[in-house]
Amino acid sequence: MTVAVRTQGIVKRYGSTVAVAGVDLTVEAGEIFGLVGPNGAGKSTTLRILATLLRPTAGEAEVAGFSVTRNPDQVRRVIGFMPDVFGVYDDMKVWEYLDFFARCYGIPATARRRIIGDLLELVDLAHKRDSYVQTLSRGMQQRLCLAHSLVHDPQILLLDEPASGLDPRARVELRELLRELRSLGKTILISSHILPELEELCTSVAIVDRGQVLAQGRVADIERRLRFGAVLRVRLLADAGGLEAARERFEADADVASATILDDGTIELGFRGDDAASARLLAETVRAGLPVVSFARAASDLEELFLQVTAPERAPQDAA
């Protein structure tokens, strides 16, 4: 696998405000890479540096092997950028909009016609070809904006909050579209503060907060590295007294950090051990004669992970 995007210690300062404080990212070709973080974490700034819209105050960033500061023109040819807030031109039809951007990339007229047709098919806007851009719905505009970033068939897509402001249906459609683009071999760098949409989509994520990468890697790897353990949920067929006895029993186990009885009667265990240890615990529980209804790892999600990583350090930001 080759590296599509690499940043080394990029810093962006606006006066005394630090938007990005030394971000190191490595995105391999063919990945869907998610940049996750709360608003103001520096996601957009990072993407805009990669899109050659901003010059980093310090550090180096390479896109497809080209430096964003020394070879911005080359970078612009290999990336497709979709900004978080984007406008549409008034008085312009959908095909004219794409035609305009295709001309900006110097694509000859004959190729332009075909590309526009193909892209409108891809983003499912072929029936809107002659509509005015400003009459499209938000979701359609979003798809059109995505199509505009594809006119020159870039290897790398930089999408800044592409799903913001979309209804759930449009969101699902967008996700399908991104999967399709990935299957076409594109590397996609996507930012969002809404985690579930990334979790299902991304192969890797970087969690960003206050201008720094807190964690980076495959979703599963991050989980393993960051959690002190998993959460096990155990349901028993027992009354309150039986539950309390079972809780105490679990708490005595060496791999269990904590055991609490939830309101619905489920016992939640903070578990340090690996899969083998949880199998052993289940076997012991059954052998002890406890009526186990279910014994499962709590579905891990990025949101939980994210809160875990970012929460302790969150303090009121002081720019001064």
Partner: protein
């Protein structure tokens, strides 16, 4: 970097996928610059092609928006009807005033009417260009910023030069269309006479340069400030400054300079600085009008009142301060006097009896003092010059000498240089990676990092 599209990991299941691979092939065959970087010529050629491609992209987009529907053409029609009506009213006015008075020849009256219509049309069109051109460009960049489309534009390989020049030209296209549409109407003056075709060309040269100059100014405002409203306000203020402001400054200067026994007040003395007049397209048009006049007439004296001519005064209070004029010997220009007169050389009056012959190159304007008929203006620029029966005064300065084409070419040159400066600054301001912006701190607060 391997191209992942060439090693399909999954079977292409949909038609779109296959089509997109066609797109890949199409894009791969388009001329892209990187290989040409090494060769200097090849690079500059492809760079030029890129700039023109970008300009045509911007132009096509802008004109599609501007010229869509009937609006543009309805406005053009209304404009021409109004302009024609105005010309007709001026004609009636001039006709009345000439038929009532003077009693001079009909040919003279006709020529005067022609000049009057010409002047009226040119001033009206200048007024229109002066306000329309910056108004058309004041939103060029700031609208893109406001609509948040500029970033999408900048992430394409289109160059800043193409953005700025393409925007300027497409915004000015409509202004040029209005100017061009008025040409047949202006040609009506040829029916009356008094205005030569080259005078019309001069007038239109001033118009076109004014449009480019103020258009560039508007574009610069647009790239400097973030809001279109502010950019429009600044450019309108600039227009007032260069039209009303400069004229007032010149009037003020001339008025103050003549106080205190002609010694002026403080630093304000002598002739007003001519440079101020270079900025004013109306004064340039007055200078063009002056060119249509046979004698020192209304327009010439207006120009001369605002900008006392370089070819000023022969009879200064102190003739000894006049700078010497070199009259080198050798074959060249001959100035022949008739019966006699005076020749001033280096401020000293040289009485001459008989024909005067000055040989050599006379670098500055030559003015002839006719002892009998008073003062006559003349202009020598390396050409032969002959007056008979007149005394000749050769000096750097001559009285009331308003010479054709003194001012407007300087205005044209000034505005071409200013446009270039404005455009270069705009290019710098549009370009994201080499951005120079006054008050970076202020920018930091408006741009919220996310």
């Amino acid at each position: 970097m391997t191209d992942p599209t060439h090693e399909p990991t999954t079977e292409p299941t949909t038609d779109t996928r296959a089509e997109l691979e066609d797109v890949v092939a199409a894009v791969a065959t388009t001329p892209v610059a990187p290989g040409a970087r090494g060769r200097r010529l090849g690079f500059s050629l492809s760079g030029l092609r890129r700039i023109f491609g970008g300009m045509s992209a911007i132009g096509a987009k802008e004109l599609r928006g501007r010229m869509r529907g009937r609006r543009a053409f309805v406005i053009l029609t209304i404009y021409l009807v109004l302009l024609g009506g105005f010309a007709w009213m001026i004609e009636l006015l001039m006709e009345r005033s000439y038929s009532a008075g003077f009693g001079s020849s009909a040919a003279y009256a006709s020529a005067s009417i022609g000049q009057g219509i010409f002047a009226a049309l040119m001033f009206l069109e200048t007024l229109q260009v002066v306000f329309l051109a910056p108004a058309a460009t004041a939103g060029a960049i700031s609208l893109e910023r406001e609509k948040q489309t500029l970033e999408m534009l900048i992430t394409t390989p289109i160059s800043s030069v193409a953005i700025v020049v393409g925007k300027l030209l497409s915004a000015l296209t409509y202004v040029f269309l209005l100017i061009l549409a008025s040409v047949p109407l202006t040609a009506v003056v040829f029916v009356y006479g008094g205005v030569a075709p080259d005078d019309v060309l001069r007038g239109y040269a001033v118009l076109v340069v004014t449009a480019i100059g103020l258009g560039s100014f508007g574009l610069f405002c647009s790239s400097l400030v973030r809001r279109t409203q502010a950019a429009t306000a600044i450019s309108i203020f600039g227009v007032l400054a260069i039209s009303v402001g400069t004229a007032f400054l010149l009037i003020f200067w001339t008025g103050i300079a003549n106080t205190g026994d002609g010694q002026g007040m403080g630093p304000i003395r002598g002739r007003s600085p001519e440079v101020i007049a270079y900025l004013n397209p109306f004064i340039a048009q007055a200078d063009v009008m002056c060119g249509t006049e046979t004698s020192t007439g209304g327009w010439c004296s207006l120009v001369n009142a605002l900008v006392p001519s370089q070819n000023g005064v022969i009879f200064t209070n102190d003739p000894t301060v006049q700078p010497a004029v070199p009259v080198p010997a050798g074959p060249g220009v001959g100035v022949g006097g008739g019966s006699g007169g005076v020749l001033t050389v280096g401020g000293a009056l040289v009485p001459v009896a008989g024909p005067i012959t000055v040989t050599g190159t006379i670098s500055s304007d030559v003015n002839v003092v006719d002892s009998v008929r008073g003062i006559k203006r003349g202009f020598v620029n390396g050409a032969g010059f002959d007056t008979t029966g007149a005394g000749v005064a050769v000096g750097p300065d001559a009285p009331f000498g308003v010479v054709r084409d003194t001012l407007w070419p300087k205005m044209v040159v000034t505005w071409i240089i200013l446009s270039a400066i404005f455009l270069l600054l705009s290019i710098q301001l549009v370009s994201p990676t080499r951005r120079w912006r006054p008050g970076r701190q202020r920018q930091a607060k408006t741009e919220t990092p996310t």
